[in-house]
């Protein structure tokens, strides 16, 4: 089973994005950072007790599923959309949705376009091997428009081509667009069009058939969400564990009950995950939130208590 492999190896192998600032990219020292990467770290902390015991395997939109399917990686966290066919035909399990997203278009301001419906005849930069590629085809067909696709292997190249004017518009998940735009030297000259043409629930995924491993990832993620709900942060987690009286919090942090054992882990797993990367809100704010250059607002990804969709099932 994957859990045993990971433990035996002492290392979690995580498929990530290398070029999407805020979600997954190595910094100048080669340390991977980002909203997606944080989940890898949390799982490593929960399973192995050390958030740094992760081996990051760079994947492109095109290679990521093969990497997961062939066993190259234990876990894929690469802004991947949960779709029916990926779940059933490609035989993966999407364990959660860490970011509710939709596909958008970015254009240069001086193009004078204000709606995606005006893009008839445009050249569109698109990453190959993504849902957005299929959505794009559907969208233009539905609106009876034509376009020229420029199929690009990774985000960095997509941005380059877009900036160089090799395409009129760049389309991908809105969050990806925001991340790209944030890193552009002249961010103010680019706008993201209002249309969101698809639902893109992004989340971590594992291979079919190993439910235990899927559960570990799923509940590690939910622990992070629940932690935000109960105000547990990386800074106060030790203190809360000692003082909290909320039974659910205590169960998450392992001071009460045997949740860890049910997962096949020890009882501190939740505490370690939260201590290593912080709760969902912390991760969001640190990597892509409004204080960062990417500046995404919580929107749909706010907690359910604040009108969003992020919702952790009960820990009991």
């Amino acid at each position: 089973a994957t859990l045993d492999d990971v433990k035996a190896r002492g290392e979690l192998i995580c498929g990530v994005n290398v070029g999407l600032t805020g979600f997954g990219a190595p910094d100048a020292n080669g340390n991977y950072q980002g909203f997606d990467v944080a989940i890898c770290k949390a799982v490593a902390a929960a399973v192995l007790g050390d958030a740094s015991k992760v081996k990051y395997v760079p994947t492109t939109g095109e290679t990521r599923f093969t990497a997961l399917a062939s066993g190259e990686v234990d876990l894929l966290v690469r802004n991947s959309t949960w779709t029916f066919s990926r779940d059933n035909d490609l035989k993966f399990d999407f364990v959660a949705v860490n970011y509710y997203d939709g596909q958008g278009f970015m254009v240069k301001k001086d193009l004078g376009v204000t709606s995606a419906k005006e893009l008839d005849g445009a050249t569109v930069c698109i990453q190959t091997g993504t849902t957005t590629e299929l959505n794009l085809a559907d969208f233009f067909k539905a609106n009876n428009m034509t376009y020229t696709p420029v199929n690009i292997a990774d985000d960095a190249e997509g941005q380059r081509q877009y900036l160089a004017g090799a395409c009129d518009t760049y389309t991908t998940d809105a969050s990806g667009l925001a991340a790209s735009r944030a890193t552009m030297p002249d961010a103010e000259n680019h706008i993201i069009l209002p249309e969101i043409i698809s639902k893109e629930p992004l989340g971590p995924l594992v291979r079919h058939g190993d439910s235990q491993w899927g559960d570990i990832v799923r509940w590690t993620y939910f622990a992070l969400v629940a932690a935000e709900e109960y105000g547990v942060t990386s800074a106060n987690v030790a203190e809360v564990a000692a003082s909290s009286t909320n039974p659910e919090v205590k169960r998450i942090l392992g001071t009460e009950g045997e949740l860890g054992a049910m997962l096949g882990l020890d009882k501190d797993w939740g505490m370690r995950a939260i201590a290593a990367v912080g709760n969902y809100g912390e991760i969001f704010e640190a990597n892509i939130g409004s204080a960062t250059p990417i500046g995404l607002s919580r929107g749909l990804n706010a907690l359910w208590t604040q009108g969003g969709l992020q919702y952790a099932p009960p820990f009991r």
């Binding site: 290679t63 399917a69 490609l90 190959t128 091997g129 090799a166 058939g209």
Partner: protein, 433 residues
Amino acid sequence: MAFVQEAPKEGFRLSMLIYDTRYRAITIQVVVLFLFLLFLSWLVNNTIANLAAKDRTFDFGFLWMRAGYDINQTLIPYTNDSTHMRAAVIGLLNTLLSALVGCTIATVLGVVIGVLRLSKNWLVSRLMTLYVEIFRNVPVLLWILLAATLLSETMPEPKDFKVTQAMVESGAEPAASNILFGTVAITNRSSLIPAPLLDRPLGGMEIASIPVNFSLLAVLAVFIGSVLVNARFLRRVKAIQEETGERPVTWWKSLAILFVPVIALLMAMGFHLEIPGFPTDASGVSKGFNFKGGIEVLHSFSALTLALALYTAAFIAEIVRSGIMAIARGQSEAAFALGLRPARTMRLVILPQALRVIIPPLISQYLNLTKNTSLAIAVSYMDLRGTLGGITLNQTGKELECMLLMMGIYLVISLIISSVMNAFNRAVKLKER
């Protein structure tokens, strides 16, 4: 006497399996076969186990399912409703197109550079040496990336060609305009060249969902006819030369035979060129994002093809140079001593011999170039690897099937090319005693 009259007839002993030359070969082969089969069954076994563990099947049914994605360069009709199979064919055609154009350019360039490297002109031969050394000592991937970057970073955007309202009012010109008398536009996405159009085309039909254009067929037929007539004409000329010794001047007659009929046919069908440009409204303001009309040659294609051609040309130049040098100096001296002029010497004596030396390595360069087109991924060109081995693989998750199919196709292409080479080698082998 150490001499044994009748060596004892020995029966078969086990040790003979190792020591006896007759049996040893068999022993070794049996062992090798056994090991090979063992290895093979181990692979197959693992694969089956792995597929089962991952809850996957091994079948090619996905090839007949809807692809759902679009491709920007399609030599035969394709929409996102077509099958994965057709997408793969599109990719294959793109691969072949790039390989074909690349080989052609590389050959022309390589021959020119190789010959110029031998030139007595110091400057030119040094420049060519520089070219060869620089291109062949740097990874081809770099040339592909550089070509793509060069094209997309230094050429004007399509919108620079547009006439805006303000320009119409002030009478200013757009920042960029077509080159070559306004017929060709090079933007940072593609080159647009005039498209041939017919007013009175002959129509067409579809055979096995591949469109057949009668006008094109007619033009081809006429041209082939002209080539045949020309060949006859040249035979006649040769006969005259053999008879009288004088070779009539033929080039303009040949040209006429080759092109007049085709041009006449095209005129009859109402041939004209469609110049690429922006559609404009009544006041002359351009509309839309992109050029309309003309044939669009994507830069992803140009960059890949050009870079491969430039890179391979460096190797071809070396092949040509050493091929010519391999023909001993004595051959040209002998020809000179017989009174043949340098150009004739080249054509009648040096080239026919150099070609034997040149063509085999040349063909393996073609093979390399063809295989290198799989680097299309670096510049977003949708070749076989991009469609079948890329998007299709990713969308369907059939990595095993897609990769095997793709390798198989490349293998077939390679085998075809190398069997052509072998046939050639056999045909031109020098007669020795």
